[in-house]
């Protein structure tokens, strides 16, 4: 069964010039979701933007996996707080 949304991990490793072990670690830390079909590992293309960010954090800024994990959690929190702030600002407009 062919799924155009899935990209083989091996191909991504070649494209981004990263080790397979790096991708495996990202999967183990839950930073990306690796999907296995017929013993071939894939990544959904929706995750590519996040993957590119993780690659930059590791290879450009030399941040290890634990650091990337912590940063990802904090960025999610920042994002959630920003959304909450926007939502509260919008609610406040009801009383203006």
């Amino acid at each position: 069964m062919e799924n155009n949304d899935l990209l083989p991990l091996e191909v991504l490793c070649t494209h981004y010039n990263v080790e397979v072990s790096f991708m495996t670690s990202l999967g183990e830390y839950g930073l990306i979701e690796v999907i296995t079909v017929n013993e071939i590992r894939y990544l959904n293309k929706e995750q590519i933007t996040d993957l590119e960010k993780l690659i930059r954090l590791h290879y450009e800024l030399e941040i290890n996996m634990e650091g990337i994990d912590a940063i990802s959690h904090l960025l999610k929190r920042v994002n959630n707080l920003q959304n909450e702030l926007n939502s509260l600002k919008n609610r406040l407009k009801l009383y203006e």
Binding site: T49, E52, K53, R56, L57, E60, L61, E62, I63, I71, L75, V78, N79, Q82, N86, S87, K89, N90, R91, K93, L94
Partner: protein
Amino acid sequence: MEFIDYYKILELDKKASDDDIKKAYRKLARKFHPDLNPNDPAAKLKFQQINEANQVLSDPEKRKKYDAHGKDWKHADEFERAGRQQSYQRPSGSGSQGNFSDPDFSDFFESMFGGAGGTRSGGSAKYRGQDFNAELHLDLKDVYETKKQTLTVNGKNIRLTIPAGVEDEQTIKIAGHGSPGVNGGPAGDLYITFIITNSTKFKREGSNLYTDVELDIYTAVLGGEIVIDTFDSKVKLSVKAETQNGTIVRLKGKGLPVYKKEGESGDLFVTYKIKIPTNLSDKEKELFRELSKIKDNGK
């Protein structure tokens, strides 16, 4: 054009070793990298300065020139003309190295090193292109339906789909539409923040809408039917007898569409504001007195 102290930017002194420069760059890049500071223009600017400082100080040839001319960098061109023949050339057209676009570098950098691509040695690290930020101003009426709009960003036309129900100050990312990457690095992203003004009589919270409707005292007391405006049409409402002031009625599905959930809409909340009649005629006053007496006698 002001002199830029690259050592100061990287928090180093002039005797810094190559290793010190590398460490300082890494440390500051981790602090100000755009991936770690989303939607922060100040951090982005700082990161560009750090990048520029690193480009100069980590390249022995550039560092030598920078150190030699330092604050007297204005005389660098004379020095160049006298001593050498055009060592530094501006990049011509589309360079194969995919360097930073010129706006990423200060005028100072360009005047000394002849533009972003001047003497960059091959094999340098990949860098992600700069992110672009833009604001798109819309009225609440514009977000009732999904719309397509063409934006021009840095000379490129981008056809944008604005999903119905987008929130005020919501930012969407259009991947890969920022500045091109460096040395094969990925292009930056385009962030569009929607600024939504409201010229309608409806107030909004998420996908729900709120409005006040005046109700005459007779309809409020006796009940009846009224026609009210919804966001895109009119509906007939049955008003129950003895409706109190401030009663809120929910009209399911008459709010704004829920963002990115096709077919789903929020609700419209109508608050009844009962209007007390004024300028009553003698006959009306008489009848109200009569009503009052009936009420008192009924107790």
